[in-house]
């Protein structure tokens, strides 16, 4: 699937002027609040009519103001998971889930109820009414309801924003499964780096109504020049790793990545599982020689690759650790003291407890793997 968007829309003093093209997988619309993320997906869904522009999925034009085309929301077959669920209070969970099927073209009905119920773990809720569900349960039902309407594209507007950390952790695996198992591309709005790192295949970075950058998640996260637009305090590296083993006596898990061996607090993942982890720049220390007698368990050799713009007291430094990227944020004073410059060999030190657990998730599977998983399921 290709989604092509080119829109201009004025909302009060705010001008939305966004243009991008994306393929399948999970595409994160990422940016600070007020950057126009929700407006863009409302326009894609057909809830807002843009002043000017064009939106097309493959060859199917949904909006083209130049040719006076505007396909109404209910004929677009674009699923929408809202921030607050928006379940129908007068219908049971089952009726909510099946609502869209009344209107989906009979021949094209994709996922069946059991499959979606199983995917989202809502089997025990079917006869209940939304008023009695928890926030996390509501959101899972809302995702299922959107899926069962057989959408060709699924929009998710910060579906976890109204939930606490525990509920978020409960839903994230379902979204990962959705991304890896169903063939429906997802556009996911978020302002949380942890969520985006964990879920996204592609990131569309927005800033003040304009597209600042589009690219694979790690590429966007590793660009030092984009840090002011993402969230400098949350800057960090995305690392793909495999579970190598568990050290039960100390409750640690060993992960292997190109950069080297990582020891992190015990994870509930089988040996051989592939994971994505995020190491925040503020948790990385640099040393010019290999330190000894140190509590930090992760010592990774690397080479300084780029030194970010330095206007304030803090500077971000990108390292190349055997092909893997790490980002460290240091004071400008430390950079000068260690005379760090591109090409200088260093050791990165990361405390095991610092690895961002919120962002630990399964890796994004390549497209070929999808078919295998589907076959294994049935």
């Amino acid at each position: 699937m290709t989604l092509a968007i080119d829109i201009k829309h004025r909302l009060g003093a705010f001008l939305l002027d966004a243009r991008f093209e994306t393929g399948g997988g999970l595409i994160a619309l990422f940016g600070r609040s007020g950057s126009g993320k929700t407006s863009i997906i409302s326009i894609i869904a057909g809830l807002i009519r843009p002043e000017r522009g064009r939106i097309a999925i493959e060859d199917d034009v949904l909006v083209d103001t130049a040719r006076d085309i505007f396909v109404p929301c209910h004929r677009r077959r674009i699923g929408y998971v809202f921030q607050e669920g928006r379940l129908f209070p007068h219908l049971t969970v089952r009726q909510n889930l099946l609502y869209g099927r009344w209107f989906a073209p009979r021949a094209k009905r994709g996922d069946d109820l059991e499959r979606v119920v199983d995917l989202l773990g809502v089997g025990a809720l079917l006869e209940r009414r939304p008023g009695r569900l928890s926030g996390g349960e509501k959101q899972r039902v809302a995702i299922g309801r959107a899926l069962l309407a057989d959408p060709r594209l699924l929009l998710m507007d910060e579906p976890l924003a109204s939930l606490d950390e525990e509920r978020k952790a409960e839903i994230l695996p379902y979204i990962e499964r959705l991304r890896d198992r169903s063939k429906v591309p997802i556009i996911y709005v978020s302002h949380s780096i942890a969520e985006v790192t964990r879920l996204a295949t592609t990131v569309v970075l927005l800033s003040e109504g304009k597209v600042a950058a589009v690219g694979p998640t790690s590429e966007i996260m590793h660009r030092l020049d984009l840090l002011p637009l993402t969230d400098r305090a949350e800057a960090g590296a995305v690392i793909e790793a495999t579970v190598e083993g568990h050290d039960e006596s100390f409750s640690l898990t060993e992960l292997r990545s190109r950069a080297g061996l990582w020891r992190v607090p015990r994870l509930d993942a089988p040996v051989g599982a592939r994971l994505r982890l995020r190491v925040r720049a503020q948790d990385v220390m640099l040393a010019k020689s290999a330190p000894t007698d140190l509590s930090a368990l992760n010592v990774l050799p690397g080479v300084v690759n780029e030194i970010g713009p330095h206007d304030g007291p803090i500077v971000e430094i990108r390292l190349d650790c055997n092909g893997e990227v790490l980002i460290a944020s240091l004071t400008r004073y430390s950079v000068a003291r260690l005379s760090l410059a591109p090409g200088v060999a260093v050791f990165a030190l990361v405390k095991s407890v610092a690895v961002d657990r919120r962002s630990l998730g399964g890796p994004v599977m390549p497209a070929e793997a999808e078919a295998d998983t589907d076959a294994a399921d049935t």
């Binding site: 677009r76 699923g79 209070p89």
Partner: protein, 233 residues
């Protein structure tokens, strides 16, 4: 003679009133829902004019409303003549005219109740239904309508109660003909105008009170049932 027993003439008035009020309520219901929907969700030129027109019978003296109906729907009135010639529907001095007068007088109350309940429905739910493939008509039928059932019931009860008690517009428009247009209030009024009519007036008053109480109870029960169905915490 048992003073509590209604005479045949009094029974006629009670039955006629019930029929007039029922027909007035049911006939105005579709228009009531449509207008309430227009006022609550529509955005068009002349919305406030429409709102004013709907509310007018509430503010005008009932006699004036009755007289306007007489001018418009009377035998020689523009609408009355048209309906009589083309559809054979005659309002003047018929019970149908009483129903029309009662319906017009109850209409603002009905529209107001339904409109308030539509405004209380979260429009974002209607949007969600749209993204699931429902066109506006289906959104109304499957989301809005089920959610405003309590408001519709409240509006119907209010309209019915108003219709049961309507006097001024009815008597002005269709007079006070026993067995045709003499509703409960008209009958009570007539009793108070003749010597020895007090007992009859008192009996009919009791009947009025009983019907009003029943209507109120019914609306309470229905509202509770509707709320339970929505599972509102």
């Amino acid at each position: 003679m048992d003073w509590m027993t209604l005479t045949p003439e009094e029974w006629t008035a009670v039955r006629l009133s019930l029929r007039v009020a029922t027909v007035a309520t049911l006939a105005s219901l579709p228009f009531g829902v449509a207008i309430a929907m227009l006022l609550a969700r529509g955005r068009f030129w002349g919305q406030s004019v429409l709102n004013g027109l709907v509310l007018m019978p509430l503010i005008l003296p009932p006699v004036v409303t009755g007289y306007i109906l007489l001018i418009l729907f009377g035998r020689r009135g523009p609408i009355g003549a048209f309906l009589a010639d083309h559809f054979g529907i005659v309002f003047s001095f018929r019970w149908t005219g009483a129903a029309l007068a009662c319906g017009v007088m109850g209409f603002p109350l009905m529209v107001r109740a339904i409109r308030l309940s539509i405004e209380a429905v979260d429009a974002r739910l209607e949007q969600a239904a749209g993204t699931l493939g429902a066109n506006p008509a289906w959104v109304f039928a499957t989301v809005t309508l089920p959610l405003i059932v309590p408001g519709i019931l409240a509006g119907m009860i209010l309209c019915f109660a108003k219709a049961m008690g309507e006097f001024g517009a009815t008597i002005t428009f269709v007079s006070n003909i026993p067995g045709e247009t003499q509703t409960l209030p008209s009958a009570i009024y007539t009793f108070t105008q003749v010597p020895g009519g007090d007992v009859g007036a008192f009996r009919l008053t009791l009947v009025s009170v009983a019907i009003a109480m029943l209507a109120l109870l019914a609306s309470e029960v229905m509202a509770r049932f509707a709320n339970r169905r929505l599972d509102i915490e």
